[in-house]
Structure formats: C-alpha cells, structure tokens
C-alpha cells in the first residue's frame, strides 16, 4: 500500500470537510476520485501531496508515518506532484515553468532542456515554448500544468480535474499519456473528475467521496424536488417542475416539508421499450441520449425532462439492446426512490 489513511480528519473554521476512517491507496495503479462539489476531493489531494497536514489522524506513505518535519516533507514531495484544479503559472515563459521543478532537483542543463522539450511536445505546447505562460488560454494552461508535473517523472501523480477545460483531442492525448506513464514507469496516478466516462475508461479503481466521507457508490440521480399534494391528497415528488414521481409507502414525511432531495438508485430502475402509454406515478417516459460501458455495467442516460441515469447489467443490455434515440419507459422498483433531505427554507 502506498498510502494508508487512518482516522484522518480535516477541519476548516470548525467545519469538518474530510473524515476518513480508513483508506488505502495502492501503488502503481490509476485511481479516479469522484464526488460532488465540495465533497473534499481537493482537500484530500492536498493531504496526499503533503501540502497540508490533517487536523487529526495518521497518514502513512510507503509504510511509514508521515512526520511533517521540513526535511522529510521535502523528501516526500519530491516523489509526489499535485496538478492543481486551477493551476497558477509562474511569471515567466512556458519553458521556464516546466524548468522550475527540474532546476530545484539540480538536473543538469542539457538534460533539463531535453526534458522540457519532451514534456511540452507531449501536451502539444511546444510552439509556445518561449511565450509568457500567463498569456495561455484556459485549456493550454491546464495542459502546461500537467507538462510541468510530467517533466519531473514523479512516483505519484495527483491530478485535480486534469482535463476539465481541455479540448477533446487533448483529453484523449492526456488520458493516453497517463495510461502510458502508468504502464511504462509504474507511476501511481490519482485524478479527480466529474466525467464518469473518463473515470471508467482510465481508472482501475474508483474512489467516491461525499460530504468528506468515502462512500461505496456514487449518488447519481439526485434531484432537488418540491412536494406536491394532488387533489386526491396523494403526495408526489416534483423534479424541477418536469417529472412527477409517487412517494414510496414507507417514506415518512414531516408535515412542514415543501422541498427536499430525492435519490433514485440507478440500479433499481428498469427500462422497457415501445410502451407509449401515459406516464403514471411509478413510470416515466423519456428518450435515450447516451449509452456507454462502465466497469462491467452499461450506463444509459435517459432524458425524461431531467437527465436520469440507468445502470444495466451487461447481460440485460445484450438481451434488450436499447438504442440511442429510442423512447423508453422507466419503472422504479420498490424503494428505488429515497427522500434524502426534507426542508422548508421559505416560510
């Protein structure tokens, strides 16, 4: 195990934003870190990059406790590089930015030059070599930040949304690159992303954070809803004014609740074709917009007014063979729908 986290807690101004009882990160693999905004992904990466010390808990790296003495930190940081979510460039040229990490490692000049050229070429920025780094466009900046890290050939590469504003061609190049340095040099890679396609295709292991805590699966299909009582007195969830869902019998609802959050388990949705009948409480009609493979399952995105994700087994998919553009009906099995939060913010 490369990293071993025990009882890690990170607080900012009395708010705990990270709380990890136990987590291990294997060496030599590519890991994806998923989770909604504010889940603590960046906070975790900063811990793993030894930039912050945790408020509480024990962090072990390569089997040894991390001690946060200055000399030790330097030694550790030379093995781990973090590429920021919104990277900042030093006020110098593009080449100068890449050179920095090499210079502080006392790499001799000719080797440095070669490494710079190589790194810039891999991210397609060679022609901007002498340009001031601050003048690059958003995606170019992100690629330069990656090049700056890659040139150092670190043992561990932590990337905070490495392709968030990178164009498609370069996304592919970067993905290929990460895969390549992983296989060629055994570099451990941990990257955050909101793009499940990327996570699924690139990572060998996926890690999901929610509210600072690791969770087994990600809560997709989470919607803010209003609770509407119809003329019969039955309560429905109304999603963004577009979709109406009936409330599962066991759900207790506080009388004052008018808004809340519902979660629809994507594995508890079944999909049937051709049934062009009226939508009822436990069934909604929509169009398939996307189908993709994802770690042993098939992910189907259906537009039902809101975007809803269905996860099918490969066998079920092979059997049914739904196609993009088809109109389908979604059925919800019992307890597919959970009311996560109940609130009444407006009086």
């Amino acid at each position: 195990m490369l990293y071993h986290l025990t009882g890690i807690r990170q607080r900012f101004n009395d708010r705990t934003v990270l709380l990890i009882d136990h987590l291990e990160i294997e060496a030599g693999r590519i890991h994806a870190l998923l989770g909604p905004n504010g889940a603590g992904k960046t906070t975790l990466l900063r811990l793993l990059a030894f930039l912050d010390a945790p408020t509480d808990g024990l962090l072990q790296f390569s089997g040894r406790d991390v001690g946060y003495s200055r000399a030790e930190l330097l030694h550790l940081r030379r093995q781990v590089v973090l590429v920021d979510q919104h990277p900042i460039m030093f006020t110098t040229t593009v080449a100068g930015n890449v050179e920095f990490g090499l210079k502080v490692r006392n790499i001799p000049k000719p080797a440095r030059r070669r490494a710079i050229d190589e790194a810039l070429e891999t991210v397609g920025l060679f022609r901007y070599k002498q340009a001031p780094a601050k003048e690059l466009s958003g995606g170019e900046t992100q690629r330069l930040a990656l090049a700056r890290a890659l040139a150092l050939k670190p043992a561990v590469l932590l990337c905070d949304e490495p392709t968030a504003s990178v164009d498609i061609e370069n996304q592919a190049i970067i993905a290929a690159l990460l895969q390549q340095i992983n296989t060629d040099h055994g570099t451990t890679i941990l990257f955050t992303t909101h793009d499940r396609v990327q996570a699924a295709s690139l990572a060998q292991r996926t890690l999901i954070l929610e509210n600072g805590r690791p969770v087994p699966t990600s809560h997709e299909n989470r919607y803010t809803c209003t609770l509407v009582t119809d003329t019969n007195g039955t309560i429905h969830y109304n999603l963004h004014g577009r979709v109406s869902l009936s409330v599962y019998a066991d759900t207790t609802i506080h009388p004052a609740t008018t808004t809340g959050q519902v979660y629809i388990d994507p594995e508890k949705i079944t999909l049937s074709r051709h049934e062009v009948q009226q939508a009822s409480g436990s069934q909604v009609i929509g169009t398939i917009v996307l189908i993709m493979a994802e770690s042993g399952k098939i992910r189907i995105v259906v537009h039902v007014g809101v975007v809803m994700v269905v996860l099918m087994d490969r066998t079920a998919y092979e059997r049914q063979r739904p196609a993009v553009g088809e109109t389908v009906a979604l059925h919800f099995t019992a307890n597919a729908i959970t009311l996560l939060e109940q609130n009444d913010q407006r009086p």
Partner: protein, 231 residues
C-alpha cells in the same frame, strides 16, 4: 520665478563644470545611501518576508510594531547611535562617530522598518497558490521563498526604491552622525542644509536639483535592471 531660474542656472553650472567639491559630495552621498539601502534591503526584505509569509504567532502585533517604527524620528535614531558609538559609548573604541560608517548605521536603522513593512504588504498579496505550486514541484523552503519573492518583486522593488529615496534625501542622521565634515561626510543634503542656514537659498536649491538629477539617473538604472517586472 527668477529664483528658480537662478537656481537652475546655478545647478547647471555646477554639473557642467564638474565642480570638484560637488563631485566629492556626490560620491559621499551615493556611497552612503547605496550602502545603507543595500544593507537595509538585505535585512528588511527577509524580515518583512518572514513576517508576511511565515506562520508566526503575533503576526499582526509585529506588523503594528513595524508600522510604529516607521515614525522613529531621525533625532532619536541619531541620539541612539550616538550614545553607542560616541567616545564614551560601548563601541567608542571603534572610532565610528563622524564617519561614513556611522551615517550608514543610522540610515540603516531608519529604513529597515520601512523596507520590512512594505515588503510585508507586497508579499501578503501574493497568491498562496504560488507557494503550494513551488512546494509540490519539489522546491525546498528556500526555493519556495524565492518563488514568492519573485512574484512579489514589483512591490519589493518599490519598497527598496522608496527606502533609497528616503536615505538619499535624509538630513538629520547624516548631520548628527556624519557631522557634515567637508570632504569626508558632507552629503548633498547636509550641504544643502548648510547653504540654507547660510541664507544661500539659490545654491541650496541648485544642489537639490543636482540631487534630483542624480536620483532620476539612479531610478532609470533601477528601471532598466528591473526590466520586465512591470506588467
């Protein structure tokens, strides 16, 4: 105003004829001011830097103290140094009083807080991400500090330049610790004060103009060195 015209003519004549006395004075002024500025920068910039950048307890108190020291009057500094280096003081045997070294010591004390306080302001403004980026790229404490310094260089240069302006135009300390001894410790400003006391206003202002020309020259040189620091 004929007064300024006269002063101007007079200043021009002084420069044009390369008046030897003027040259001596200019040399003394420059060597004292530059030495004091360089020494003060060597102490003040790191001090300010550490205050702004380090995680010191009582940071705000230190900043307030630095700001307070900005108001240290030259008379007090002069007397303070005097007490130590006068014949009766503990460093009396070094025979420093009324030498250029004494002036440098006094002016050093004068501008260290200025440089430090302005460095604090300059460094505080540097985005924290520079520091983290340098660290994660493997820079040691020293190299990380250099990155932050580099990014704050515009403000730090302003601090040093304003300190230079402060010392080269300073009179009190130069007078008290240097003694305005002709040929040894007479600077542009003490010469000016002398001409003023004599009632020779024209000459005083002429000297002032020479000083401004000098300072302009220094600043142009600074500017060239600083190069692309200005965005």
């Amino acid at each position: 105003m004929s007064f300024f015209v006269d002063s101007f003519t007079s200043a021009f004549r002084l420069i044009w004829t390369l008046d030897p006395e003027l040259l001596t004075i200019v040399r003394v002024s420059l060597s004292v001011s530059c030495t004091a500025t360089v020494c003060a920068a060597l102490v003040g910039v790191p001090t300010g830097f550490i205050v702004a950048y380090g995680r010191l307890p009582g940071k705000r108190a230190i900043i307030t103290l630095l700001n307070t020291l900005l108001a240290l009057p030259t008379v007090v500094i002069g007397l303070l140094v005097y007490t130590f280096i006068s014949r009766r003081g503990i460093f009396g045997h070094l025979d420093l009083l009324y030498t250029q070294k004494a002036m440098i010591i006094g002016q050093f004390i004068l501008i260290v807080p200025l440089i430090a306080a302005l460095t604090v302001a300059a460094v505080s403004r540097v985005d924290e991400r520079y520091r983290n980026t340098a660290k994660t790229l493997g820079a040691n404490a020293w190299q990380t500090a250099l990155v932050v310094l580099r990014e704050g260089r515009f403000g730090i240069a302003a601090a040093v330049i304003s300190a230079f302006g402060r010392v080269i135009s300073e009179i009190g300390i130069a007078m008290m610790l240097g003694g305005n001894i002709k040929g040894f410790t007479r600077t542009m400003t003490t010469a000016m004060a002398l001409e003023y006391d004599k009632g020779a206003f024209t000459l005083a202002v002429a000297l002032g103009m020479v000083l401004m020309v000098l300072s302009l020259g220094m600043n142009i040189v600074f500017n060239l060195i600083q190069g692309k620091a200005l965005r």
